[in-house]
Amino acid sequence: MADALVRADVLAGRRAETAGVSVVPGAPASRLSLRAPQAGIAALSKALGLALPKKPKGTAQDGTRAALWLGPDEWLVLDAEGVDLAGLCASVRTAHSAVDVSHRNVAILVSGPAAETVLAAGCPQDLAPAVFPVGAASRTVLGKVEIVLWRTGADAFRVEVWRSFSDYAFTLLAEAARDA
């Protein structure tokens, strides 16, 4: 009998590295699916310690925490330190929905001079820096699955993908890396 439940790391050991790009799984993080009307933005920003972005494709970052605009009333909040983000919102009295989705997603980090080309193999959005600059984020698609894409650097992207789709997403990116 097992002594403890162990959460399997779904992309453990996966890695694609070429001269132009590296595709690796991201470290575990806490994640929050946040929905709130305009009236709740100020209080939730205060509770989370960063200003929730109000513009399309906008992001806000403070230390290890980030908030990504997904829609006019929807954000994906990430924290690399594993902070209980839903707990931080618990004291906010205006109506909102804060759901911990830490283990729903996994992250895939794509970096290197060919990163944009590799993403473009499966993502139909215009990823040119003029349209998708550093700091931009968007829900979109990669091949046949939905992802949230965040440009964290000129040559670096974070792909947030549902755990059960992560094998597909990683394989597609690794194949694209071979061709890039």
Binding site: P56, K57, L70, G71, P72, E74, P124, Q125, V131, S138, R139, T140, V141, E146
Partner: protein, 99 residues
Amino acid sequence: MLLIRCPYCEEDRPELEFRHAGEAHIARPERIAAISDEAFERYFFLRANPKGLIYERWRHLHGCARFFNAVRDTVSDRFVMTYKAGEPKPETLPEETGR
């Protein structure tokens, strides 16, 4: 691939992020149980299906996830304009419409 302008994301986005959601501006009867079968048929089943401009609901499913409305030409598949859900049917359309 078509590019569709999402009025919430405020930019043209690839067709693959969107889903069609039927004709727009179909008002649900206030007291639906009280209407005749014929009136229900008109409300529920019958659609304009024009050759030319049509007003449709679309959803930016794999983007901001919002529903919005679009004016599309069923002959050319061209999107004439898009506007937010809840906004009235536009009385005038952008200039280049008559192509």
